[in-house]
């Protein structure tokens, strides 16, 4: 029996990132026609800086959504992680690297608790993370006493510093974000662990019956996502230069937006990490481009909302066609 390959154009069309990528390219073409400042290295460096925190949160969000879960708590966990690492370093004199490690551990710990609640008590991820959103939010304000932490040691703001590539200043944080995306794209696409995450999102029962340890996998995904939120906390701290208890309050929804715009299905089991990077960039490009055109920021929010609904509609329609 000959094993036929789909023709190349069909394969490109059926690639899940094709739609988001086309949208991104079209948006870039549109905005470069509208503004001379859009298509410059400096502007793109700025766009990446603007999306790196939400983009990094969206990495963890993608992992969780692929398992057919959702995480409403990631922005709040990140805010708490940021307060923990800055306060430990500034108020308690902990060595900065140790304080950063503690912040990462706290975020991973929140992820672990989310994962255990989802797995052991089989609570819906929506409810678990909604609760955790409030817990982390409250702890952030209690622990920080609503005070912004300033005078950070240089190690904590290092990622906000820049290096120069071909005349364009790029922050180390942007580089780290891109590397994280590549790392997780690799883990999802090229390792057995990644295959198992997709299988779990398709059907936990199928995954279990094929011998995948689904409980361990779920807890692992949430914990790993928590660790990534910790990295997002460090990026946030390095970008703003302070530990801010008010940070990240809408970032949970923004990260979901990036994931959905990237073509990942909210029903789980379908989507890619590179799609999420594209999704985050779409949000960044629209915000930036509309800003350059002088469109008030509330219209940027309006357009982002419409884009999300469009993306979800496309996802639904393509699923229906596949059935």
């Amino acid at each position: 029996m000959p094993v036929l390959d789909a023709t190349l154009p069909r394969r490109i069309l059926s690639t899940p990132t094709a739609g988001p990528l086309a949208a991104l390219v079209l948006a870039c073409v549109f905005f470069s026609l509208q503004s001379d400042q859009f298509l410059t290295g400096g502007n793109f460096s700025l766009i990446i800086q603007q999306v790196m925190v939400v983009g990094t949160l969206a990495i963890g969000q993608t992992l969780i959504i692929l398992t057919a879960g959702i995480d409403l708590s990631n922005g709040a966990i990140m805010a708490f992680g940021g307060i923990v690492m800055t306060k430990l370093a500034v108020d308690h004199g902990m060595p900065p690297l140790l304080a950063i490690a503690a912040g990462l551990a706290v975020c991973a710990g929140f992820g672990l608790i989310n994962g255990l609640l989802v797995m052991k008590i089989s609570l819906p991820p929506f409810i678990v993370t909604l609760g955790m959103l409030n817990v982390a939010f409250a702890l952030t304000h209690i622990y920080s006493q609503d005070q912004t932490v300033t005078d950070l040691p240089p190690a904590m703001t290092f990622l906000g510093q820049t290096f120069t590539v071909g005349g364009t200043n790029v922050t180390y944080g942007s580089l780290l974000t891109i590397l994280l995306f590549l790392l997780f794209a690799y883990l999802l696409g090229q390792t057995a662990w990644g295959r198992h995450v997709y299988a779990l999102g398709n059907s936990p029962e199928v995954a279990r019956l094929t011998g995948i340890r689904t409980g361990r996998l779920i807890v692992g995904v949430y914990t790993l996502a928590g660790l990534v939120y910790g990295i997002a906390a460090l990026l946030l701290v390095s970008r703003t230069g302070v530990g801010d208890p008010q940070a990240g309050q809408t970032d949970n929804l923004d990260s979901i937006t990036a994931v959905v715009l990237g073509g990942t299905s909210l029903f789980g089991g379908r989507g890619t990490m590179l799609g999420t990077l594209i999704g985050a960039l779409i949000v960044g490009v629209f915000r930036n481009g509309l800003q350059l055109m002088g469109v008030p920021s509330i219209y940027q929010t309006l357009i982002t909302g419409i884009l999300v609904i469009l993306a979800v509609t496309v996802d639904q329609l393509s699923r229906r066609r596949n059935r």
Partner: protein
Amino acid sequence: MTPVLQARGLVKRYGHVTALDGADFDLMPGEVLAVIGDNGAGKSTLIKALTGALQPDEGEIQLDGSPVRFRGPLEARRHGIETVYQDLAVAASLDIATNMFLGREVRKPGPLGKVFRLLDKKRMREESARHMADLKIGLGSLTQPVESLSGGQRQGVAVARAVAWAKHVVVMDEPTAALGVKESGQVLDMIRRVRDSGTPVVLISHNMPHVFEIADRIHIQRLGRRVAQIKPGDYSMAQVVAIMTGALQVADGKAVVADQGAAEAIGLS
């Protein structure tokens, strides 16, 4: 001859409901054994107990004459028992090769695999193609997601995976339930090929014509127990249905009318 897979006195209770009430089971080498029974007779529970998907409260299972205890589906699979579950066979968005190797992925040799955990996708595709060809399952690309296949092709993937890994037994739960006539025929052909290659098959089915067409022996389950083991040629379909429903009983290899009214109602006796 030692049965490949044997169970004695399996009991499984769910609260006040007794799903298995001292069930026995024997699968002989190289045969297709059909397991039939009315709804609620305990077929699924029996099969789940035999494949590690649940743990019986009492009773003993033997594989090749030695007692075994499966704490999960993975352990049963390690002992060479592969199961094709009804509706729960494949992960829809993943491709054929990935499904064939799900839970048993092959990594690249050397540090790429050991350190970087890199999957050997090419090798998995090649081996999948070979297994599919062995069972004469024709498919397009092995990289297309399983959800784009027809029901029969999906079942084909699930069967091919089970056969590829089964060293001892293949268990199939209603493999033709969701399929059309032609596709059912293809699955039955596949089952024959599996048996002819030497692997015994346990087939759970509601479809009497399919059972009579393919089974070497029939295990009839009723009220949580095995009430008869017969050869299809020795009884008519109507008699088998009567045994299933309790109208006939089998004693010393002969059918005895247990419920005169019920037996007359279906035209026996």
